[in-house]
C-alpha cells in the first residue's frame, strides 16, 4: 500500500467512524425528530448543516474545474448557486417555517386545499431529488475507486451503508449533526490546498485576495488574472476574464435557473423546518450562505490558479520556441498518475516528444473522430472531410507555422482541477487524503439530505397524508424508516446502473425544481388569490415545458438516439433564443407563473379559510394569530 493510500484509509476511516458515532448518539424517537430533528436546531448549526446538505459532489469536485475552463462564463455557477439563498431567505424560509409542517408537498397540499396538488408536488419532488441523488452516488463510487483502490461497486456499497446507518436511525436529527461534521471536513479539505497554492503563486495566503493580487512567478509585477489572460490567449484559448458561456442571454437564464432551482429544491427547504422560530429561519439562511460563500469565493481562485499552473507546467518557455514545451518523458508524477485514470490524455500528433496544449479550432477532435470511424469502419468519408476542413483552418494559424499538428492534451477533465490540485502544488500526502475525505463528505451529506426529502414525501405525504390518514405515529416513524431504506436501495441501484444520463442529472434536477415547485410555493405566500386549479395547472405546465426542451435536446429520459430536435420547424439546437437545455428551468418557471395566474383568474377564488391560512403564514407570531380567528 502506498503512503497516499495509507493516509486516505486513515483519514476517510476516521471521518466515517465519526459519522457512525454521531448516528448512534442521535437516534430519532418521534416523527418530529425524524422529519425535522425535533425543530430545535440552533440557527448557526442549521446554517452549517444546510451548507453541507447543499454543497454536493459537483460543488466540491467539479465546480472549480468548470470555472477554470469556463473563465468568466463559469460565474453562472457562482452567482446561481449562491443567489438562490437570497430568494430562500426573503421569500420562502420564514413563511414555510411559520406554516410549521414537515414537508414541502404538505405546504402545497394545505395551501391549495387539494390532495391532487400534494401528489403532483410529491411527483415533482421525487423526480428532482432522485435525479440529483444519482450524481452523488456516482461521485462516491468514483472517489473510492480512484483513491482507495476499492472497486466502484464496493465504493457505492460502503457509501450507502454509512448513509443508511445514520439516516435510518436518526432521520433528520442524525443527518443534521452528521452534516455539521461533514461541513467541517469538506471546508478544511477545500481551503487548505487553496491557501497553499495562493501563497505559492501570489504570496498571499487568502485565495480571495490572491486572485486579485500580483503573480510572483516571474517578478514582472503583473496581476495574476492579467498573466492568466496572456498565457491562455497566446495559446489560442479565449481570454479568461471575458469568455462568455453561450451568450449573455444564456448566462442570464442559466443563472436565473440555478437561483430559483436552489430556492425550490425540497431537501434545502426542509432544513429550515428544523429551527425553533421564524426569526431563526431568516438568520439561518444567512449563516448557511456564509458557510457556502467560504467555498464559493475560494473556488474561482482555485480554478484560475490551477489553470495557470497547468498551462505553465506544459508551456515551459515562449510559445513557438521548439524548446518551449514540456518533454513528455519528463512529465511530473501527478501527470502520470492522472493519465492512468483517463482524466488526462496525451497524443503526440507531431511526434516531437513534447506536449503542445493549445486551442486548435477542433483539429485534434476531428482527428480522433476519424480514428474512431476507422476502427468502427463507418462514416469514414464524413470524418475525413471534417479533418480536411479543420486542417485548412488550422494551417492559417500561427501554430501551424511552429510545426504543431493539433492539441496534444486530448483529454483534460474538469475534475482534475480540484483532485490533482494538491499534487500540482506539491503538497504532502495527508492533504490529498483530506481532499478525498472532503469529496466523500460533500457527496454523502447531500445524498442523505435528498434521501430524507424522498422518504418523508413517501411516508408523510403519500402514506399519512393521502392513503392512510389514520396511521399511528409509531407506524409512521416505521414507515419513514422503511421508505428511507427503499430510497437508499433505489439510489444505490441507480448509482450502479446510471441510466446513461448521469452527466445531465444536476441540470435536470435544478430545471425541475425551478419550474415546478418554486413558483407555486412563492405564489402560495404572496398571491392570496391563487387557487387549486391554477397551482396544479402551473406545476404540470412548468415541468412539462422543461422536460420537453431537455428531452428534445438530450433524448427522452436521456436515452441516446431519441432526441427530437426539429430544425425544419425552426426547432434546431438551442432554438429558444439560444438558451441551452441546462438553462431552461427559468423559462419553465415563467410558464408555470403565467399559466397558474391565468387559470386562477378564470376559476373560483380559494375558500375563506385558505385566505386566513395565508394571512397566518405572513405573520411570525403563532398563538396570537390563531386566537384572532
Amino acid at each position: 500500500m502506498t503512503e497516499l493510500e495509507l493516509w486516505s484509509y486513515g483519514i476517510v476511516g476516521a471521518t466515517f467512524a465519526l459519522y457512525i458515532g454521531i448516528a448512534l448518539w442521535s437516534r430519532a424517537g418521534s416523527t418530529r425528530e425524524f422529519y425535522v430533528a425535533g425543530g430545535g436546531v440552533h440557527p448557526v448549526a442549521n446554517g452549517m448543516a444546510t451548507a453541507a446538505d447543499w454543497m454536493s459532489a459537483a460543488s466540491f469536485i467539479s465546480m472549480a474545474g468548470m470555472i477554470a475552463f469556463g473563465g468568466y462564463g463559469g460565474s453562472v455557477f457562482l452567482m446561481g448557486w449562491t443567489g438562490g439563498y437570497v430568494l430562500l431567505a426573503l421569500l420562502l424560509a420564514p413563511y414555510l417555517r411559520k406554516f410549521g409542517k414537515f414537508t414541502v408537498p404538505e405546504f402545497i397540499g394545505d395551501r391549495y386545499y387539494s390532495n391532487g396538488a400534494r401528489v403532483v408536488a410529491v411527483i415533482c419532488l421525487i423526480l428532482a431529488s432522485v435525479t440529483y441523488v444519482i450524481g452523488q452516488m456516482t461521485g462516491v463510487g468514483v472517489a473510492f475507486s480512484r483513491f482507495l483502490g476499492v472497486s466502484y461497486e464496493w465504493g457505492i456499497a460502503v457509501g450507502m451503508g454509512i448513509v443508511a446507518i445514520y439516516a435510518i436511525l436518526g432521520g433528520m436529527k442524525g443527518i443534521t449533526y452528521t452534516q455539521i461534521a461533514q461541513y467541517v471536513v469538506l471546508i478544511l479539505a477545500y481551503t487548505i490546498p487553496a491557501i497553499f497554492i495562493s501563497l505559492t503563486l501570489t504570496g498571499n495566503p487568502i485565495p480571495q485576495l490572491g486572485l486579485g493580487g500580483d503573480y510572483v512567478g516571474d517578478g514582472a509585477g503583473v496581476s495574476l488574472l492579467a498573466r492568466l489572460d496572456q498565457v491562455v490567449t497566446d495559446l489560442g484559448f479565449k481570454q479568461y476574464t471575458t469568455q462568455v458561456m453561450g451568450s449573455k442571454l444564456n448566462m442570464f437564464a442559466y443563472t436565473l435557473s440555478l437561483m430559483i432551482g436552489t430556492a425550490g429544491l425540497p431537501h434545502v427547504i426542509i432544513r429550515f423546518f428544523t429551527v425553533p422560530k421564524v426569526r431563526d429561519a431568516r438568520y439561518s439562511a444567512g449563516w448557511a450562505l456564509v458557510f457556502i460563500a467560504i467555498l464559493y469565493t475560494t473556488a474561482p481562485a482555485v480554478g484560475a490558479m490551477a489553470r495557470l499552473n497547468l498551462m505553465e507546467t506544459i508551456q515551459t518557455g515562449p510559445v513557438g520556441d521548439p524548446q518551449g514545451n514540456l518533454v513528455y518523458d519528463e512529465r511530473p508524477d501527478w501527470f502520470k498518475r492522472w493519465e492512468t485514470t483517463g482524466l488526462l490524455k496525451f497524443k503526440d500528433w507531431n511526434g516531437d516528444g513534447r506536449i503542445q496544449y493549445y486551442s486548435d479550432g477542433g483539429l485534434a477532435e476531428a482527428k480522433l473522430k476519424l480514428a474512431d470511424a476507422k476502427s468502427k469502419n463507418t462514416g469514414i468519408e464524413a470524418a475525413e472531410k471534417a479533418v480536411a476542413a479543420a486542417e485548412t483552418k488550422h494551417s492559417a494559424t500561427k501554430f501551424a507555422g511552429y510545426g504543431w499538428q493539433g492539441n496534444e492534451m486530448v483529454t483534460v477533465n474538469n475534475d482534475i482541477m480540484v483532485l490533482a490540485n494538491p499534487e500540482i502544488a506539491g503538497l504532502p500526502a495527508w492533504v490529498i487524503a483530506l481532499v478525498v475525505a472532503g469529496g466523500l463528505a460533500a457527496a454523502l451529506s447531500t445524498a442523505a439530505g435528498l434521501l430524507l426529502a424522498i422518504s418523508s414525501a413517501i411516508s408523510h405525504d403519500l402514506l399519512k397524508g393521502v392513503f392512510m390518514p389514520t396511521i399511528t405515529e409509531k407506524n409512521e416513524l416505521l414507515a419513514g424508516r422503511l421508505s428511507m431504506i427503499a430510497a437508499i436501495l433505489l439510489a444505490g441501484y441507480l448509482g450502479l446502473n446510471p441510466p446513461g444520463f448521469a452527466a445531465g442529472t444536476v441540470a435536470l434536477a435544478f430545471g425541475l425544481a425551478a419550474s415546478s415547485l418554486f413558483p407555486v410555493i412563492i405564489m402560495g405566500i404572496f398571491f392570496k388569490r391563487l387557487n387549486k386549479e391554477g397551482a396544479i395547472a402551473g406545476m404540470i405546465t412548468g415541468i412539462m415545458v422543461t422536460l420537453f426542451y431537455v428531452f428534445q435536446h438530450k433524448g427522452i429520459f436521456f436515452v441516446k438516439g431519441t432526441e427530437f430536435l426539429m430544425p425544419e420547424l425552426g426547432m434546431g439546437a438551442n432554438w429558444f433564443f439560444g438558451i441551452t437545455p441546462e438553462a431552461f428551468g427559468a423559462v419553465g418557471a415563467l410558464a408555470n407563473f403565467l399559466i397558474a395566474a391565468i387559470v386562477s383568474a378564470l376559476t373560483a377564488p380559494p375558500p375563506e379559510h385558505i385566505q386566513h391560512l395565508v394571512e397566518d403564514v405572513r405573520i411570525p407570531r403563532g398563538a396570537g394569530v390563531a386566537v384572532a380567528h
Binding site: M79, V86, G286
Partner: protein
C-alpha cells in the same frame, strides 16, 4: 391585531423585499452580466470590476442582504408587536 395594522405590516415587509431584491438583481444580473464590459474597464486591485462582481462581489453582497433583511424584520416584528414570545 386589526386587519389595517396587518396590512401595514405586510406592506412594510414588501417594501423591504423590493429594495433588497433590486440590489440582489443589480449586483448579479446587472453588474455581473449585463454591464460587465463597461465595469471591466475599472480595476479593483488585479480584478476587472465586472469580473469581480460576477465571481466575488455579488456573493458577499448576497450574504449582507440576508442579514440586513433579518435585522429589519426583527425590528418590524417588534414595532407591530408580532414577534414570537
Amino acid at each position: 391585531m386589526t386587519p389595517d395594522k396587518r396590512a401595514d405590516y405586510w406592506k412594510a415587509n414588501l417594501r423591504y423585499l423590493v429594495v433588497l431584491l433590486v440590489v440582489w438583481f443589480l449586483v448579479s444580473y446587472g453588474f455581473g452580466i449585463l454591464l460587465v464590459e463597461p465595469l471591466n474597464a475599472i480595476h479593483l486591485g488585479g480584478y476587472p470590476l465586472g469580473f469581480w462582481f460576477a465571481q466575488q462581489g455579488s456573493i458577499y453582497i448576497f450574504v449582507a442582504l440576508i442579514f440586513i433583511y433579518a435585522a429589519l424584520m426583527n425590528r418590524l416584528d417588534k414595532t407591530y408587536d408580532v414577534e414570537e414570545d
